[in-house]
Symmetry: C2
Subunit: 516 residues, 2 copies
C-alpha cells in the first residue's frame, strides 16, 4: 500500500532526486504534524482527548512509515546513488540527503507497519499513564503499559538487528545518535564516572561552599514566568517563530524551524530550575530555529543527532547560564523582576547558588557534576532491560540500587525515583546517554567558540548573546545533517570528542567555589 499526498502530477517528469525530495518532504509534513499533536497532548489537550489522540498518532505514524518505505522512494534512492555527478561531493546537499534518506528507508523497511502503529498508540497512552503514576508515586499503575512498551521495543530491536559484536540497545539508540553503541557509551562512561565521582568527593570535602540563599527563595510563579520569557528572548529565541508553555516534563518540539514549541515548569522555590530548564529548552529552540528553512523537510534541514542537540541546550543552560559573566548581567535583572524579595542577594550569592553541587534525586534539577551520574544509572538499567535481563517489575529496585551506588542516596519513593522521567513511557530507550554526550560536546564546542569570539564573557556580562548564537548558527545549526555528530565535532573543533574539556571546565569553575 502506498501513500502519497503531494507528489507531482502524473505525467510530469521528475528526476530521481526531485522524486526523492518530494517524498521526504511529504514524510516531514506528517512527522511534523505528529510532533504538533504530541506537543498539544503535553500542553493543551483535555484529559478526555487521550484515547482518540493515541489513534490519531498511530494513523500519522503509519502514514509516515508508509511514505518512508514507499518502493518509489527506494527506486529514487537507487537512481540517485548511481548518478555520479549528483553524489560527487559527499558533504554536498544532494549526497547528504541521499545518504540519510537511504539510512531511514532501509531502517523503516525493517519495521512492520503494525509495530509502528502499535508503538505510536501505546506510547501516547503510556505517557499519560506515566504522568498520573508519577503524580501519585504509583509504579504499579504504570507497570502494565511500560511492560507493553518494553515488549514492543524489544520486538523493534529484533526487527532492526545489530552487529555481531553489539546488543539490542544499539538498534534502538541508532534513532537518537546514529552509530552510537552501548559498548562505546560504556567506554566513555566508565572513566568519566570515576573522574566525576572523584571531583564530587573533592568538592564535598572542600573548605567552603556557595550560598544557597537563591535556591531557598519563594518567588511568585507569575513573576518567574515573565522573567524566564525575558531571558529566553534575550539569549536569542525568536517568539515570532515559536512558543514557550508549561508541561509536566519540559521539552522542545521542533515541529519545524519556523514554529518551535518549548515548554518549561515552575516551582515556587526553584527559580534556578525554571531558569535552567528554560535556558536548556531555549538552547534546543535556537538550534531548531537556526536550521536552514530552505531545506525544510529534508535531512539537510534537520538536526544532526540528540547528542549534538543536547550540546546546544546544555551549553546555554550551563556554559552560559551558570557562568559568572551571565550572572553579573542577570543579577540586576532579578531585582527588576522580583523586587524586594531578592535585594539581599549579592552577585556571589546568585552565581554560587546556580552552581551548588549536591547529590539529589531529580536529574533535571541536578548540578553539572552529578547530572551525568543520573544518566549513567539510567543507561545501566535500560541496557539490561532491553536485553531481557531485567524485568519491568524490577526497575524500582535496580533504580534505587544504582542511586545508592552512584550518588550515595536512598531514594524515598518512585516519584523521586524511577518515575521521574517521561522517556521510557514515550518509548525512548537509548536516549539518555545522549544527555552526557551532549555535555561532552557542549564543553568542547564552547571552548572553540570562546577561542574564536573575542571577549565572549565580557559580552555575556553586558547581556549580549548574539555572537555566540551567530557562531552556533554558522558552525552547527545551518549545517543540517551535512556531517554525522563525530565528524561535525572534528570539523568544528579539530579534534575527536574527549571528556577533557568537560572535566577542565567543571574543575576550573567549581574548585574555587568549594575552596579547593
Amino acid at each position: 500500500m502506498t501513500t502519497s499526498a503531494s507528489t507531482t502530477s502524473v505525467g510530469q517528469t521528475t528526476t530521481p532526486y526531485e522524486g526523492l525530495i518530494g517524498l521526504a518532504r511529504e514524510a516531514a509534513l506528517l512527522g511534523s504534524t505528529a510532533s504538533l499533536l504530541n506537543w498539544d497532548q503535553q500542553t493543551m489537550m483535555p484529559p478526555g482527548g487521550l484515547a482518540y489522540r493515541s489513534r490519531q498518532l498511530a494513523c500519522l505514524a503509519s502514514l509516515h512509515h508508509g511514505v518512508l518505505t514507499d518502493p518509489r522512494l527506494g527506486e529514487h534512492l537507487a537512481g540517485c546513488e548511481s548518478d555520479q555527478a549528483l553524489m560527487a561531493d559527499p558533504t554536498g546537499p544532494a549526497a547528504v540527503n541521499v545518504r540519510e534518506l537511504r539510512r531511514l528507508h532501509d531502517r523503516q523497511r525493517k519495521l512492520p507497519r503494525s509495530l509502528v502503529e502499535e508503538l505510536a498508540r501505546t506510547t501516547s497512552l503510556a505517557q499519560h499513564e506515566w504522568a498520573e503514576a508519577r503524580r501519585d508515586s504509583d509504579f504499579a499503575r504504570f507497570r502494565p503499559l511500560l511492560e507493553k512498551v518494553v515488549a514492543l521495543l524489544r520486538h523493534k530491536a529484533q526487527c532492526l538487528g545489530w552487529p555481531a559484536d553489539g546488543e539490542p540497545w544499539d538498534a534502538l539508540a541508532e534513532d537518537y545518535e546514529p552509530g552510537c553503541t552501548a559498548a562505546a557509551v560504556e567506554a566513555i562512561f566508565g572513566p568519566l564516572r570515576e573522574r566525576l565521582q572523584g571531583l564530587l568527593g573533592e568538592l564535598m570535602a572542600g573548605s567552603t561552599r556557595p550560598s544557597d540563599a537563591l535556591n531557598e527563595l519563594k518567588l511568585p510563579i507569575e513573576k518567574q514566568q515573565k522573567f524566564v520569557r525575558f531571558v529566553a528572548a534575550q539569549i536569542g529565541f525568536d517568539f515570532s517563530r515559536g512558543r514557550l508553555d508549561c508541561s509536566a516534563h519540559p521539552f522542545c518540539s521542533g515541529t519545524h524551524c519556523n514554529d518551535v514549541r518549548m515548554t518549561t515548569r515552575f516551582q515556587q522555590t526553584m527559580v534556578c530550575e525554571a531558569l535552567g530548564s528554560t535556558m536548556h529548552e531555549t538552547g534546543h529552540g535556537i538550534y531548531e530555529q537556526g536550521l536552514p528553512a530552505e531545506n525544510i523537510g529534508t535531512p539537510m534541514g534537520e538536526s544532526v543527532s540528540l547528542g549534538i542537540h543536547e550540546s546546544q541546550s546544555r551549553m546555554w543552560e550551563n556554559q552560559v547560564g551558570r557562568s559568572r559573566a551571565f550572572w553579573s548581567w542577570c543579577h540586576p535583572k532579578l531585582a527588576e523582576f522580583f523586587g524586594a524579595a531578592v535585594e539581599s542577594l549579592s552577585l556571589d550569592d546568585v552565581y554560587g547558588g546556580a552552581n551548588i553541587v549536591r547529590p539529589g534525586f531529580i536529574r533535571v534539577e541536578a548540578d553539572e557534576v552529578t547530572y551525568n551520574l543520573h544518566v549513567m544509572a539510567r543507561f545501566d538499567i535500560e541496557r539490561v532491560l532491553i536485553r531481557g535481563d531485567l524485568k519491568v517489575s524490577e526497575i524500582p529496585g535496580a533504580w534505587n540500587d544504582a542511586y545508592r551506588e552512584y550518588l550515595g542516596l536512598e531514594v524515598p519513593d518512585d516519584r523521586r525515583g524511577c518515575l521521574q522521567d517521561i522517556h521510557w513511557s514515550s518509548g525512548s530507550i537509548g536516549y539518555f546517554p545522549t544527555y552526557t554526550l551532549g555535555n561532552l560536546y557542549a564543553a568542547q564546542l564552547f571552548d572553540k567558540a570562546a577561542a574564536d569570539i573575542d571577549g565572549l564573557f565580557e559580552q555575556f556580562a553586558r547581556g549580549e548573546f548574539a555572537a555566540l548564537k551567530a557562531w552556533l548558527n554558522e558552525h552547527i545549526h545551518s549545517q543540517g545533517q551535512r556531517y554525522r555528530a563525530a565528524d561535525l565535532c572534528k570539523q568544528v573543533t579539530g579534534k575527536p570528542l574527549s571528556a577533557d574539556p568537560l572535566m577542565r571546565y567543571l574543575e576550573g569553575k567549581l574548585r574555587p567555589l568549594y575552596g579547593q
Copy 2:
C-alpha cells in the same frame, strides 16, 4: 493512488460494512487532525508557522480526500447497498452510515485532488491574511487571496455540479446544509426579512427602551474570562473533554466528542458579547460533546448540519442566555465576579441590556432581530459572487449598499464592514444562511423542549440547565446523522420548519421591553 493507515491486516476477512467503517474512521482521524491544526493556527501558532501550516493542511486534506475517494470505499458501499438485511431499517445505524458515506464518496470523487490540496493551502494562508487585513481595515491587502479562494470555489462548484433549476451556490452549500439551495433560502429569507424589518421599525418607535447600563460597563478582561468559564461550565460544558481559549473570531472546533475546542473573545466594555459568544460556542460544544462516542468517526457519530449545529449555539445564547429567568440567576453572579462595578445594576438593567435591539455593523454583536438581516446581506453577496456576477473588488461597495438597505447604516470602514467575518477567507461560501436557519430551528426546537420539560424557566432561574441539556442530548445530539435536518425537525417537533416560532418568540419578548 490509495491511502490506508489502519485498515485491517491483509488476509483478515471483513464484511463490506466493516471495511466501509474502517475507512470512514481513518478519514475521520485525518479530518480531526486537520481540525486540530486549524484550531492551533487560530489560537496558539506563532506567525512564523503559517507557510508550513498551510502545507501540512494541504497534505492532510489530500490524504483525507484519498481515503474518501478510495475505490475500495466504493466497492464496500456497493456491497452494503446490495445487502438488504443491512439496509432494512433506513434510520438504523448501518443504513445511515451507508447513506451518508455514499453522499460523501460521490461528492469527493467529483473533486480533483489537486483542487482539494490547493483549497486547503490557500484558505489557510487566506485566513491569516484576512486577520491582518481586518486589523488594518485594508481590503486591498486581502483581495488577491480572496480572489484566489473565490476562483477555487467557483471551480469546485463546477466540478460538483448543480440541478438544472439550481445555481453554483447550491453546490457549495451542500457541504454545510445537505439539500439546501439558494432558491429555498430565498423563499425563507424574503418573507422573514419583511417581518423582521417590520418588528424592528415597531420597536424603534416604541415608547420605552431597555437600559444600556450593562453594555457601557468597563470590566477587567481577566474577570470576564473567569466569569464566562464559570457560566460555560454551569450550563453544561465538560472541561475535562474540552477547552475554552481566545481567538480573533470565536469558533468551536469539534475535533471529536471527547476533545472539543471552543474560543471566545473579550473587549473591556462588552461583557455581554463575551458572555453571548461564550454561551454560543458552548452550545456548539455541548452538541459535540453529546455526540455518541461509540460512533466516533462515522456519520452516526457526527452532527446533522450547520443549521442544526447553529440551532444549538443560538438556543443557549438566546433562548437561554437572553431570558429573564437566566438573568435572575446570573444577576447575583455578576456581583460575585465583578464586585462594586456592577452593584448599581438591577435585574431589569441586566435583562434589558442583554436584549437591546439596535442596528449595528457587527454580526456577532447583533441583537436577535437585526442578526438575520446581517446574514441576508452576506447571502445576497456570496450568491452573486459565486455565480460570477460580482467581482471580489466590488464586495466592499456591495456590502455597504446592502447595509444601507437592510439596516439603514453607513458602514464606516471595511473592518466594520466586509472584513469582519472569517468565513470567506476559509472558503466557507454557502455557510452564512445556516445561521438564520439555526435561529429558526432553535426557536422551534426550544418551544418543544419548553413544552416537554416542566418548569424549564424556573430551573434556569435556579441556575439549573441539566434538564434542557439532557433533552437536547436525547433528541438531537445522540442521534448523530440519523435524520437530515428537515426530517429531524419534523421528528422532534412534529412540524416542518417554520418562521413562526422565531417571530412569536421575538415579538413576545421584545415588545414589552420596548413598550409595544
